[in-house]
Subunit: 208 residues, 2 copies
Amino acid sequence: MREALLESAIDHFGRCGFEGAATRAIAADCGTAMSSITYHFGGKEGLYLAVAEHIAAQLAEHHRDALEAIAVTPVKTREDAIERLVAVLDALAATMLGAKAARWARFIIREQQEPTEAFDRIYSIAMRPMTEAFIPLIAAARPDLSDREQRASGFLLFGQALALRAGRASLCRVLGLEHLDAEAELLLRRRLATHTRAILSAGPETLP
Amino acid sequence: MREALLESAIDHFGRCGFEGAATRAIAADCGTAMSSITYHFGGKEGLYLAVAEHIAAQLAEHHRDALEAIAVTPVKTREDAIERLVAVLDALAATMLGAKAARWARFIIREQQEPTEAFDRIYSIAMRPMTEAFIPLIAAARPDLSDREQRASGFLLFGQALALRAGRASLCRVLGLEHLDAEAELLLRRRLATHTRAILSAGPETLP
DNA sequence: GTCTATACTACGATAGAC
DNA sequence: GTCTATCGTAGTATAGAC
């Protein structure tokens, strides 16, 4: 029942926000009574924080393979670093375009606007590991940049994938589609890979 | 009073969402009674839609100058188109980093996750004009791409600026800052301009 | 462990005084 | 136009039955 309540709560909190979500409705979706939430999580706030950790764990698990793949062997060349970054960002874009991410993202994007303790948990469990794998690759691809420039560029690269979810309603309208189909998703991922290579391949030797 | 209620409502709806926001609290911020909302807007839902139009109008006004500047003379060369795009994206990034956008963005980003009629109004008033100015410039900068590729690339470029707001909590952590200072904002805008040039300068003649 | 019953609070809508 | 008063509804929390 604990698990079912968490899954239901992801959707309710994501769609309605903390205040807007109704504990009675969350419980009803699981065929149980609202007081189960009090029992399992101590109350609405406890449920909210548990949802954050639940999402963070699923997200971390979801990206585990992609992160292990890029970390397993030392980076040899700039081109190697760039292709690893392309692979990570493509995995991230696929996640952002997928259906599972929609549920998680509704919750997370809300938290980004007005971060609470829940964001701390999501960041430390799911995002920090990705950042820590990401920045060294940027450094390897663009050693000409300062540490802060590398982090800024890394975030902006990351942002392109993030926008696929955060700005999805606008994206559909720009592409003139009701919903994103498989063809559009592939196109977006290919463009993102091209952008990534263009950004990371530039440097002092090509742009003096 | 109508104006005051709208301004207060931007913050309450943005922070708490539609269901979470309390009309009594919105009215109290303006030193008036909740029934003023009934009088001016017909109810909570009417207020919400009015807020959407209010934000859209302010956003459109905010970007009017930048859009006029890029549309006033015909585009002559690829380089000309690229520098116009750099200028628009820089203006957009400045907006996203600014304080006014924080209030608007809380409202808009919520709508993007679960679009309602309010998003239609924001998109048609504030975003469509920007898209319609943006895509032709991409076409001029990258005539080698198909229409759909141009739109996808345009959105991803746009997404970097969007992420400055939508992912701000993560951005601060990646940069190791409590809040973004002026120096960090300038750095991000410069990186975005560099990325924009790298993405748009690439093409069949440079990357065969 | 889970549910029922209940207490309490706060919400939005509305009618009517000013 | 704005406010007060009031209504019905819906929220959380808690205690106690099973």
